[in-house]
């Protein structure tokens, strides 16, 4: 009787101990709370953090990210965040600081380790070389902030995020690095095509692309026919011209060799005016522009008018995750853009 009692007590103690250990492990491995300002950053952060992080985004992709209200519900999200990732380059200048100030979270204030500017190491376009004034419209002095539309910048942003996540949660460093590797591998596959990436390393392909010798090198190796993905889909359309609403597509067109003939906005942030639309129509006819690329949150009136008068096609394409059906994550958002453009051009 005595021994039985002792056994059960021992078992109970072991059960409790294992329970406590399990609880401790679970508590130690709580997912990192990440809040990003845009949905594209959220998608990349989720890909890199995986199960080790919970990611929410302030902007949903359905709104113009320049203009948001610093609502109390955003402030509450930032209050509990452990990592705040912003797109930077003054995209959130209208609403970022009130959220951070109202959140009373010293860990995520600018300068703290929990505050990350994702634009730190990306390749920038549109950095003004002369003094900017507001007479030029809504010009960003640090450069064009819509940088996530270049897949190379998506790759770089993922690297930056992985570095910061490993700093904040070193115990899960291996998880983050493994997720990063698979995200980059998938991005390379979508960019160049799975067949090509299977034969040539993705990083090497990017090196050749940046060096301007990708086509020549592939032809020399006899792999020119194996090119697929976004690069392959848009290769036949190199040099073609499109018209956009806002100055938001420059990174995409630069990467894939397209050109922007005109913008519907006479200056960034100024709505289209009748006289400017007349000039745009002339440009469209002269350069034989086939596609007018407009984000879903812009009014289609001006684009439809130009399309009617010139025969070009209006392509409504989200430039941010969640802006449209079928754009649940960063890679499928770019898939969608490439698909729509290839259909239209």
């Amino acid at each position: 009787m005595d021994t039985r009692h002792n056994h059960s007590a021992g078992r109970l103690a072991m059960f409790l101990a294992s329970g406590i250990c399990a609880f401790a492990t679970v508590a130690a491995a709580k997912p990192l709370r990440i809040v990003t300002t845009t949905s594209d950053l959220a998608s990349i952060a989720q890909a890199v953090a995986g199960d080790a992080g919970t990611v929410t985004s302030i902007a949903t992709g359905r709104q113009d990210p320049h203009f948001l209200q610093a609502k109390p519900s955003y402030i509450m999200r930032a209050r509990r965040a452990q990592l705040w990732i912003r797109a930077g380059m003054e995209l959130e200048i209208g609403w970022g600081t009130p959220i951070l100030d109202g959140a009373r979270n010293p860990k995520i204030r600018e300068g703290a380790r929990g505050h990350l500017d994702a634009s730190g190491d990306i390749v920038r376009l549109g950095v003004p070389t002369q003094r900017v004034t507001r007479a030029m419209g809504d010009v960003h002095p640090s450069g064009n902030p819509h940088y996530w539309l270049d897949p190379l910048n998506g790759r770089i942003v993922a690297q930056t995020m992985c570095g910061r996540l490993c700093e904040l949660a070193p115990a899960q460093g291996d998880v983050f690095r493994a997720n990063l590797a698979s995200f980059i591998a998938e991005l390379d596959c979508r960019m160049f095509g799975r067949e090509l990436v299977a034969q040539v390393d993705g990083k090497h392909l990017w090196t050749l692309l940046l060096g301007g010798t990708l086509d020549a090198d592939l032809t020399a190796r006899g792999l020119s026919g194996e090119v697929g993905g976004w690069y392959g889909t848009l290769r036949p359309h190199r040099g073609k011209q499109i018209v956009t609403y806002h100055r938001s597509w420059n990174y995409f067109t630069d990467r894939f060799g397209l050109e922007i003939a005109a913008e519907l906005e006479p200056k960034p942030g100024i709505p289209p005016s009748a006289s400017h639309l007349v000039a745009v129509m002339k440009t469209v006819k002269r350069e034989n522009v086939k596609v007018l690329l407009v984000e879903p949150f812009y009014s289609r009136r001006s684009a439809d008018l130009v399309a009617r008068k010139t025969g070009a096609k209006v392509v409504v394409c989200a430039n941010s995750v969640g802006g449209q059906e079928g754009t649940e994550d960063y890679l499928s958002m770019l898939d969608q853009v490439v698909k729509h453009l290839a259909e239209g051009l």
Binding site: P72, G102, R104, D121, L125, G137, Q159, L210, P271
Partner: protein, 617 residues
């Protein structure tokens, strides 16, 4: 293991015939000697076998044969040397044995041997598959060619390695998070270019320069911005709308005389003020901002605030001179309002500047999942309408802080485009009034001393003011550009009671020591809608004096009528930094002289310069 051997294929290569050996026996000398003699006559040639066993190779290749020359025996005196065996063989013993595979040779034949070896080598090389060469000086030519090839190979390899290293380094930099310098990328990477044709500073398409970015980003100076707020005003009341406000029944009795501070609201052009904002992060612990309002009469400090950024548990402390956060309207600056002027309730109960005072605010954002923000404020207590303090006889001198108030703001988490916030506030503070023949009251009938509104105070009240406020705001942020489709609905209520004791009165029969209680309230409700991009229209209904009563020290009480106003506004924002507004208002005011209807029209023109910070919700 590679074994090098040379097969010398010459027609003269054969083992010494048996006959030659036998002739050795004829001599009487030692056999070696004889052999040597004999060898002079016989054309004996060494069989030298030097070649190379290479895996998978039948014939020796050229490079493999190159070192063969080392194995060609060199003339040595007095030594018999077998190339194959590589060891000295005493010829005497061998000759004695009569072993036919002995390779007898003499020192004098070494030179010949070498020549023969070279000939054989050349012959073999000629028959080998690697090259066909002219027999004239083949090895030297071969060597020089090989040297040349080797040099070329090394050079090419170095070049390629260098190129690969450079490219890999560049991609490493790009892909692993360090910024490549524009100069380094100029060689191979296409210049980063701006493809927009529609003008702007980057249309010239120069390469990206890091210096400009650095200059824009790095500055420890505060953010400076300037707000210019001007408007044209006109109303159809005889003495101006400000006078009407001063005469409103129940509200307008709290000033000493007619001389009191007003922001000028003249018919014609007005400059409300020029606001100069300076703000910056002070250090890892605080941020601060200062707002100076510069108007024609001079400059005054609207706000000068130090705010903590480092406190835990959702706490925040701010101190200095600032607008109290007890109501939305009070916390906003004039350029943030949706209408040209503030609601009547706020204006009549707290004055044109609102509750703006020196003090300290402690606020706490609770850990609840939705916003519950508590605030406690302590102010010095200098507000012309609600918290006056004179401090001198006959008043008590009350040290500051004389005003204490608290507020709470609750905002449920609503989906994406919707925002809602409720606010509740209450507070109390010392209030002292000196009057100048405004409240004659009943006891003046029995006066023996006559007095009038002579500009000098003749009765004094001391006590406190208690107030209570509530407001609510709902905002809908439509996913269209430039504010199209956005809706804001806002409403607020303010109630104020002055509990004052008559501390002194010129008239001897006055009920000194008795209380006077003034209770007034008011509310507003407004809605603003963006019906087109950059255009908004708004409507505001206001009512003041629903509760409008005075209990006088002599026991009587008075009650007054309410006043109402309806305002409509239309504004156009050419950009986020400029705004034009047209506002028309019609008010029905219950003044001391009877009811009065006043129409007001205002045209406001506002701009902001510089890096104006973002506005709160």
């Amino acid at each position: 293991m590679r074994i090098l051997w040379l097969q010398v294929a010459t027609p003269l290569n054969h083992a010494p015939s048996a006959s030659s050996l036998r002739t050795v026996d004829r001599g009487s000398g030692p056999p070696c000697h004889r052999l040597r003699k004999q060898s002079r006559s016989l054309p004996t040639h060494p069989r030298l076998t030097v070649g190379s066993y290479l895996p998978g190779c039948c014939w020796p290749s050229v490079p493999a044969l190159l070192p063969c020359s080392l194995f060609v025996p060199r003339p040595t005196t007095g030594r018999r040397y077998s190339a194959r065996l590589g060891r000295r063989t005493p010829c005497c013993c061998r000759l004695a044995d009569g072993i036919p595979n002995l390779i007898p040779y003499e020192e004098t034949t070494m030179h010949t041997t070498r020549m023969a070896a070279l000939c054989g080598l050349t012959l073999m090389l000629a028959t080998g598959p690697t090259r066909a060469d002219s027999p004239a000086d083949p090895t030297a030519q071969l060597r020089s060619e090989v040297r040349e090839l080797r040099a070329q190979l090394t050079q090419q390899r170095t070049l390629l390695e260098e190129r690969v290293r450079q490219l890999e380094a560049r991609l490493e930099q790009l892909a692993e998070g360090t910024t490549p310098s524009p100069v380094a990328t100029a060689t191979g990477v296409p210049a980063v270019r701006e493809q927009v044709r529609s003008g702007g500073p980057t249309a010239a398409g120069p390469a990206w320069t890091g210096a400009g970015v650095g200059a824009a980003v790095q500055s420890l100076n505060p953010d400076v911005s300037v707000i210019v707020d001007t408007f044209y005003h006109n109303d159809n009341s005889k003495e101006g709308i400000q006078h009407v406000f001063g005469e409103l029944a129940g509200f307008g009795h709290s000033h000493a005389g007619h001389e009191h501070e007003h922001t000028h609201l003249e018919d014609g052009f007005n400059l409300r003020h020029l606001e100069l904002h300076l703000s910056a992060e002070v250090d890892p612990y605080f941020k601060a901002w200062a707002i100076g309002a510069i108007c024609e009469e001079g400059a005054e400090i609207e706000e000068a605030v130090i705010q903590t950024t480092c406190l835990p548990y959702g706490l925040q402390i701010q101190g200095g001179k600032f607008f109290s956060n007890f109501s939305r309207i009070n916390a906003q600056h004039s350029h943030e309002w949706d209408f040209v002027d503030m609601p009547l309730a706020n204006q009549l109960l707290f004055g044109d500047h609102g509750l703006n005072d020196k003090g300290v605010q402690l606020s706490w954002l609770t850990p609840a999942p939705f916003q519950v923000l508590f605030g406690l404020e302590a102010f010095q207590g200098e507000n012309e309408l609600a918290f006056q303090h004179h401090g001198e006889e006959p008043f008590d001198q009350a040290p500051g802080p004389r005003v204490w108030l608290g507020w709470v703001k609750v905002a449920p988490n609503l989906p994406e485009a919707h925002g809602l916030e409720f606010g509740l506030a209450g507070g109390r503070g010392v209030h002292q009034e000196e009057h100048d023949a405004l409240d004659n009251a009943a006891w003046s009938d029995s006066a023996t001393v006559t007095f009038g509104a002579d500009g000098e105070a003749d009765h004094w009240f001391d006590g406190d003011t208690t107030f209570f406020g509530a407001d609510v705001v709902y905002k809908y942020d439509a996913p269209r550009e430039h504010g199209a489709g956005d809706l804001t609905v806002q409403s607020g209520y303010l109630w104020r009671r002055k509990d004052l004791e008559l501390v002194d009165h010129i008239l001897p029969g006055a009920p000194v020591g008795e209380d006077r209680v003034d209770t007034q309230d008011g509310y507003y409700a407004q809605a603003v809608y963006g019906f087109r991009p950059r255009w908004r229209a708004g409507l505001r209904w206001e009512q003041v004096g629903l509760t409008n009563s005075s209990e006088l020290p002599d026991g009587t009480s008075q009650s007054f009528d309410d006043s109402t106003r309806l305002s409509a506004m239309l504004d156009f924002s050419p950009s986020e930094f400029s705004r034009l507004r047209l506002q028309v208002a019609r008010g029905e005011y219950a003044t001391d002289d009877g009811d009065e209807e006043v129409w007001q029209v205002s045209v406001q023109w506002m701009i902001s310069l510089g890096s104006h910070g973002a506005h709160k919700f």
